[in-house]
């Protein structure tokens, strides 16, 4: 069953800003990563799904309901985490959660209390005085506390420390098991790598690709930095191994590997390796790797 349906969605702000003819579906039980650099149109898409914006052209549906006309009905089954965290003036964390629960007509607080514990959220302090990460956690609790069928999360892990990012990823996987449909936006591939089934990549308001996470990983080139014991063995490895060598500097070799790394590991077995690092690929790299050298994309990233 299709839960989120976006068809020809267009909002033109002029000057190539906005979103243009977006079309994609998200199926029930799917975790969809919505990937793109800042300003690509991720949040604009989400604002349409939330019914904050009316499209110039095309339409968006959630659970078969029109996002512009029936947003209040959609919200009964939807949890939303805004990209920019802004709350009510002067409320404490708990006051805010109580207020939101009341606005939703929610009386069962079991899930909420579980989430507060999971994220170690301090709900007593005034929101105004909370750190960015704490506010983000409050937003996450608020989005999940009514056990919604559909979740729309705009850059959910920004501001979270690594431990909380892991907790969050675990929770997403948990929700996926329960059959929830989740759309989460991000500007970093690593952030959604663990949790998403499919990834939509948006650039300058246009959807450039929708890929299955499995296929994406297959096609993905990763950059590795290998530190050998001596420069001699480094150059020996570089000359004889047949891998795509990018750079040799003293005893360090930089190379890129496509997809499966077992061959690479087997070869390394013959050498003394002091250190092995991966270079975190930027979104730009990912575009380059998947879609070749599009000069426009490279210069605008």
């Amino acid at each position: 069953m299709t839960i989120i349906k976006i068809k020809d969605l267009t909002k033109d702000y002029g000057d190539h800003k906005g979103i243009f003819d977006l079309t994609f579906n998200i199926e029930e039980g799917e975790v969809f990563g919505y990937l793109g650099p800042n300003g690509a149109g991720k949040t604009t898409t989400i604002r349409h799904l939330m019914g904050f914006l009316t499209p110039d052209k095309g339409e968006a549906h959630i659970l078969g309901l029109d996002c512009t006309k029936s947003s209040a009905d959609i919200m009964k089954h939807l949890g939303y985490l805004p990209g920019e965290i802004a709350f009510f003036d002067g409320m404490s964390g708990m006051e805010f959660l109580n207020f939101m629960a009341e606005m939703r007509g929610l009386t069962d607080t079991t899930l909420r209390d579980k989430l507060i514990k999971l994220f170690e959220l301090d709900t007593k302090g005034k929101i105004r005085k909370m750190s960015k990460g704490m506010k983000q956690k409050l937003g996450i609790v608020c989005a999940f506390m009514h056990d919604p069928k559909v979740l729309i999360l705009d850059e959910p892990t920004s501001g979270l420390d690594p431990l909380m990012q892991k907790n969050f990823a675990d929770m997403i996987l948990e929700e996926k098991k329960k059959g929830k449909t989740i759309l989460m936006s991000s500007h970093s591939f690593e952030e959604i790598e663990r949790t998403c089934d499919r990834v939509g990549i948006i650039r300058q308001g246009e959807l450039v690709a929708i890929e299955n996470m499995h296929d994406l990983k297959q096609k993905r080139r990763k950059i590795y930095l290998v530190t050998f014991d001596t420069p001699a063995s480094a150059s020996h490895f570089a000359d004889s191994s047949g891998f795509d060598i990018l750079e040799v500097e003293n005893n360090i070799v930089k190379l890129s590997v496509l997809g499966n790394v077992s061959e690479f590991i087997k070869t390394l077995h013959n050498y003394t390796v002091l250190d092995l690092n991966t270079e975190i690929s930027s979104l730009e790299d990912i575009f380059m790797h998947y879609y070749g050298n599009k000069p426009q994309s490279a210069s605008n990233m």
Binding site: R47, F52, M75, Y80, A86, F88, G90, M103, G105
Partner: protein, 266 residues
């Protein structure tokens, strides 16, 4: 139709400023009422004559008839009632919609199963009710104090009419503020119109009171529709009241409808 939880939160949010404005009103009103002294009226008028006439007139103080209602009508309903509740109106109107949109907290309100119409109606109702309570407190305190200090002196019917006029004026003033709050994305623009327009009206009103030469300016301020002199003297006031009601209804109606349809940058 309305959201009780939002209404509660809005009441809490505006409670302090409401109390402060009411408190200031409650300081002035008793002072003015107890200042009334029929025998000293002539001498008070004489003192007024010694002051710059333009200034006195701009503040709404004129040479006045001798009754208590004339006195209160001139000193309280001539100027103070135009100024103090307006401060509340400006703050509350801006907070009710525009500031939520500006700060982004509107995103949370709209992510609950409450549509925009319901949220806007709730906020509008809050402003209307709180304004009514504010003017109502003034009315009751005015009547009680007058009867304690000068039993039987106050023309209660006219005093009620005077307050009804002030209330209708504030329905229109908050209507403008609410409309601006619904229309704009940021607090700055909302205040520019929602506060700017009433303040300009008030200034024009003050200038037009200064003298004959500036009298024509009366045609350019909405505050002319609330004329305490005319209400007290029993001259026409019903058309003005109707005009204020129409302005209020149009402004609130337009505000809610625009907010329902427009794009929100949340």
């Amino acid at each position: 139709m309305l959201s009780k939880s939002l209404l509660k939160a809005t009441i809490k949010q505006n409670f302090m400023v409401f109390i402060i404005i009411v408190a200031v009103l409650m300081v002035y009103l008793p002072i003015i009422i107890t200042m009334y002294d029929p025998s000293a009226q002539d001498s008070l008028n004489k003192i007024l004559e010694t002051m710059p006439q333009g200034l006195i007139a701009a503040m709404g103080f004129k040479e006045i008839g001798g009754s208590l209602i004339d006195f209160i009508g001139s000193y309280f309903y001539g100027f103070l009632i135009l100024l103090l509740p307006m401060i509340y109106s400006i703050i509350a109107c801006n907070r009710c919609i525009a500031s939520h949109v500006d700060k982004g907290s509107m995103a949370y309100l709209l992510s609950t199963p409450n549509n925009r119409g319901k949220i806007a109606r709730t906020q509008a109702l809050f402003i209307i009710i709180s304004m009514t309570i504010m003017i109502g407190i003034g009315t009751i305190v005015g009547i009680v104090l007058s009867n304690v200090s000068f039993p039987g002196e106050l023309d209660v019917k006219t005093f009620l009419l005077l307050n009804l006029g002030a209330l209708l004026l504030y329905f229109a003033v908050t209507g403008i503020g609410f409309f601006a709050s619904c229309l704009f994305n940021d607090t700055k623009s909302s205040l520019m119109v929602g506060a700017g327009l009433p303040v300009i009206f008030l200034v024009i009103q003050m200038i037009s009171d200064v003298g004959e030469k500036t009298r024509f300016l009366k045609n350019f301020t909405m505050f002319t529709l609330f004329d305490s002199d005319k209400i007290i003297s029993g001259e026409s006031y019903i058309p003005q009241f109707i005009a204020l009601i129409v302005i209020a209804m149009v402004m609130y109606g337009l505000g809610i409808n625009i907010f329902k349809k427009r794009d929100l940058p949340l």
